[in-house]
């Protein structure tokens, strides 16, 4: 099990035991984290699962691929540490990962 810390916009932290291979979005939805909508169910087709990766983790998590980067155009208040959480797969190295939910998904 890999620990994820998803912090909602109001500051509430959701500490989640996640299975490797699942996505950060799936874990957020399963635990009803407010602000993650995931309208398209993880197909990288809606940009309503936008999160900010904690600065300490951006290197480990890595950069979005070009399809995700294109999809981020549909998100709001996009920052250099923005990712779509359905495109982040949980793996051992992400144990302790911190991501934050933006104010709006649009």
């Amino acid at each position: 099990m890999t620990k994820l810390h998803i912090i909602a916009f109001d500051g509430t932290a959701y500490d989640i035991d996640a299975e490797n291979g699942s996505t950060v979005m799936e874990n957020a939805i399963r635990n009803s984290v407010p602000g993650i909508e995931a309208e398209c169910g993880g197909a990288c087709a809606c940009a309503t699962c936008h999160v900010y990766v904690d600065d300490a983790w951006t290197g480990v998590v890595g950069e979005p691929e070009s399809m995700e980067e294109d999809m981020l155009d549909f998100a709001f208040d996009v920052r250099p540490n923005s990712r779509l959480s359905c495109q982040i797969k949980v793996r051992d190295e992400l144990d302790g990962l911190i991501v934050r939910v933006p104010e709006h998904q649009g």
């Binding site: 398209c40 087709a45 809606c46 155009d73 709001f76 709006h104 649009g106």
Partner: protein, 347 residues
């Protein structure tokens, strides 16, 4: 003011289908086998609903008989399959009003005032109509319809204005290029220097930027300034801080999202934005109005394309009965019935 002297064009059809997603398309087939002609209306500019708009290139693995088919591929096949029934389409229109008439038929009106008369109505509206995403810029609502527009219906409306266009896809780039000669000034704002739009449009845009015929600014709009709906300027946060761009019109292009829309006002029973139906007829609370595909709900409902296809087949029987109660429907196979094969144009 609507022109009351002009009687609107009325299109008559057997069955009006609201929504041309995969399920609405397949309904044409099932209704066609029962000799019912269909007219489909969709707010999108092409058939396919979610398949065409959200994931055209993605593979679907659970369409019976197709181990793998892309979403757009499925739409193409459906269009081919229903072709013999010559369905009529009206795109770029939303059905905004629906009323039942005394004789049990229906009258529907689009957002542009076109009128349809039908003997039965099938709501195949999926997750609702696709509508432009509203960027969460504080106070943007107050400018909508006056200074902020999500689509261009008439280019003339933008003549002589200072435009700010936001986005990096084809809509944003095409309108930047098309409106540039008409507007007084054009600024394009996008969050990065890479675009999803066709490279040709992007090159043209950068060309005009270099000739100083438009301004391209990297960044995101964070605030609007103006009074009573009249826009004066927008604040754009970029990599090097904030700039104010004077503008009188803002056109944000952030793609589409599904909203239930006007269906909520048609007097039908709804449950959490879905239309409850029975599983024999797939009929709504109003006899003669049926609901199939993602828009309906019943115990055990799965939002799958294949479920929608099944619903279409059963609904067609019920719709036929609603329209011609005296006619006996004979159950037949397309494999062996010459009468069905004639309708399909293969016998």
């Amino acid at each position: 003011m609507p022109d009351v002297t002009k009687t609107p064009d009325v299109t008559k059809t057997d069955v009006l289908i609201v929504g041309a997603g995969p399920v609405g398309l397949f309904a044409v087939f099932e209704l066609g086998l029962l000799d019912l002609k269909c007219h489909l209306v969709d707010i999108l500019d092409r058939p396919g609903g979610q398949c065409a708009e959200l994931y055209p290139e993605k593979p679907i693995y659970d369409i019976p008989g197709w181990p793998l088919i892309t979403a757009q591929g499925l739409v193409g096949r459906l269009m081919e399959q229903i072709e013999p029934f010559q369905p009529q389409f009206t795109f770029n229109r939303m059905i905004s009003a629906l009323e039942k008439r005394e004789d049990g038929s229906f009258r529907a009106t689009t957002d542009e005032g076109e009128v349809f008369e039908a003997k039965a109505v099938v709501i195949a509206a999926g997750g609702g109509s696709f509508q432009p995403k509203r960027p969460p810029i504080p106070g943007i609502e107050a400018y909508e319809g006056k200074s902020v527009f999500y689509a261009v219906r008439r280019m003339e409306d933008f003549r002589g204005e200072d435009l700010l266009i936001v986005g990096g896809g084809d809509s944003a780039l095409d309108w930047t290029l098309n409106l540039q000669p008409v507007a007084r000034s054009v600024a394009l704002v996008h969050r990065r220097a890479e675009f999803r739009a066709s490279p040709d449009s992007v090159n043209k845009m950068f060309g005009l930027h270099e000739e100083e015929k438009l301004r391209f600014q990297i960044g995101q709009v964070t605030a609007l300034a103006g009074e009573s709906g009249v826009l004066r300027s927008a604040t754009v946060k970029g990599p090097h801080g904030e700039v104010d761009i004077p503008c009188t019109r803002l056109l944000p292009f952030f793609g589409l999202t599904m909203k239930l829309g006007p269906i909520a006002q048609w007097g039908l029973n709804l449950h959490e934005n879905l239309i409850p139906v029975d599983t024999e007829k797939f009929q709504s609370s109003e006899p003669g109005i049926f609901a199939i595909g993602d828009i309906n709900t019943y115990p055990g409902k799965l939002k799958l394309i294949l479920s929608g296809f099944h619903e279409a087949a059963l609904m067609a029987q019920a719709a036929k009965h609603y329209i011609s109660p005296a006619e006996r429907i004979v159950f037949q196979y397309t494999t062996s019935s010459t009468s069905l094969q004639k309708k399909l144009g293969v016998a």
